[in-house]
Amino acid sequence: MTENKQGMTDQVVLRVEDLHKAYGENQVLRGVSLSIRRGETKVVIGPSGTGKSTLLRCINQLTVPDSGRVWLGEIEATSREADINRIRAQIGFVFQSFNLFTHLNALENVRIGPMKVRGMSKEEATKLAMEELDRVGLGDKAEAYPAELSGGQQQRVSIARALAMSPLLILFDEPTSALDPELIGEVLSVMIALAREGMTMLVVSHEMGFARSVADEIIFMEHGVIVEQGPPAQLFSASKEPRTREFLHKITELYGDQG
């Protein structure tokens, strides 16, 4: 897709095997398997209530799956012996509702992970945090508190917070769904830049423009299973499943095709 992805190895960063999760009677995930190689970006789409967010949360164990396995590189995250805090530290998570720490300013939000989890000194962590804020274009907002930032800015800070942990991959849970239309672009361009720099990303989003321009693969989920997956071009022009075509048609109508 892009030149700098060509040099990447075939190393599998994330492997998900047959995940199941139910909330009472409600089977949210009914056997989901997928894998992502280093530098890949995959976009998960599907109707609401299909288990997309649950899938992401099961990957970093914020939600514990009923069965199935998750591997981060060679380490099994679902194993009882696994140090879940160490594993999570390597998986970035970007929330739909940002979830910035409200009592900390932008710089402190980004710095706290490296300091408290990675054990960096304050000076080192501050330097790193400033670099990450610059990377998302918010170096000048370091002193601002979340309540003083727009939604788009908050989401970019939360991306910087994830980046500061030097994650192996980042999970994005509908990162632009809570944003006003005019703020979506600034978040998407940060994400597009990340994808092009070779960050490994699993993104739940209906932003088809984003998916078309950087996704290596689109995964269509419905009723807790993956219905179809493939490169965007293939899914858009030659989808095998009628449900996929129907859904793609519907969201391109709703969200537009550009992004």
Binding site: N60, L62, N85, R86, I87, R88, A89, Q90, I91, G92, F93, F95, S97, N99, L100, F101, T102, H103, N105, I112, G113, K116, V117, A144, Y145, P146, A147, E148, S158, R161, A162, M165
Partner: protein
């Protein structure tokens, strides 16, 4: 007149320091126990949650005066544990305050969005780290306004310690009253109690102003502006 001034002297010199010292002791005890109880109630494992709930319900369900008598006279008569009156009052009212304060802090913790804990865990913080660095500082801020209520109650409840002979502000008032009515006549009693009441009022006001100042100092920029109705 000199009798009056000579009487008010001890109120200020002896009564006020005891009242202040006891208030600080009670708030401190309540804080030290109340915060862990609140966190245990929200984040603890089930047996711990039950224990804390039973504790908090017990100490909120018994009148302050009964607690004082139970810890002082009750223990002394049955087990020959004779604690100094000040200590008995401190324990009884301190445990009581910890129960009340725990519910203030529990409310504050539960007012913090679940997303804060999730985000903290998502960057690899342990539950303890998340509580320490993310939840606690926010809960602390949210606690200040309701905590100023508890401060006001505790300050005034110290007067109940007079029942077991702690010479604090109210007890000092009683002692002076007895002296003064023989020296000057019964009509002066009112003056003494007005002075006592004013001293409590001033202490409560000063404490609440300090807490309001603290609240302002730790305010999160931009946080209070949301949804403000201007007219």
């Amino acid at each position: 007149m000199s009798v009056i001034l000579g009487s008010i002297g001890p109120l200020i010199v002896k009564g006020v320091p005891t009242t202040i010292l006891m208030t600080l002791g009670l708030l401190g005890t309540g804080l030290l126990l109340g915060f862990p109880i609140a966190f245990a109630q929200v984040y603890g494992y089930r047996p711990l949650r039950w224990f804390c709930r039973a504790y908090e319900q017990t100490f909120r369900g018994i009148p302050a005066l009964v607690l004082i008598l139970l810890f002082h006279s009750g223990l002394a008569r049955s087990f020959h544990i004779l604690l100094p009156a000040f200590t008995s009052a401190l324990i009884a009212l301190g445990l009581r305050s910890s129960a009340y304060q725990s519910q203030i802090f529990r409310g504050a913790i539960q007012a913090i969005s679940q997303g804060q804990m999730m985000a903290a865990r998502s960057i690899g913080m342990s539950k303890f780290q998340a509580i320490r660095h993310i939840i606690l500082p926010q809960a602390f801020r949210l606690s200040i306004p309701p905590w100023s209520n508890e401060f006001s109650s505790v300050l005034k409840d110290t007067s109940l310690a007079s029942a077991i002979g702690v010479v604090e502000l109210a007890k000092e008032g009683t002692l002076i009253m007895t002296r003064i009515q023989y020296a000057l006549g019964a009509e002066w009693i009112l003056i003494i109690w007005i002075v006592v009441a004013l001293i409590y009022l001033v202490l409560t006001y000063a404490g609440n102003r300090s807490l309001a100042f603290l609240e302002d100092r730790v305010r999160i920029p931009g946080f209070e502006i949301r949804g403000r109705v201007e007219r």
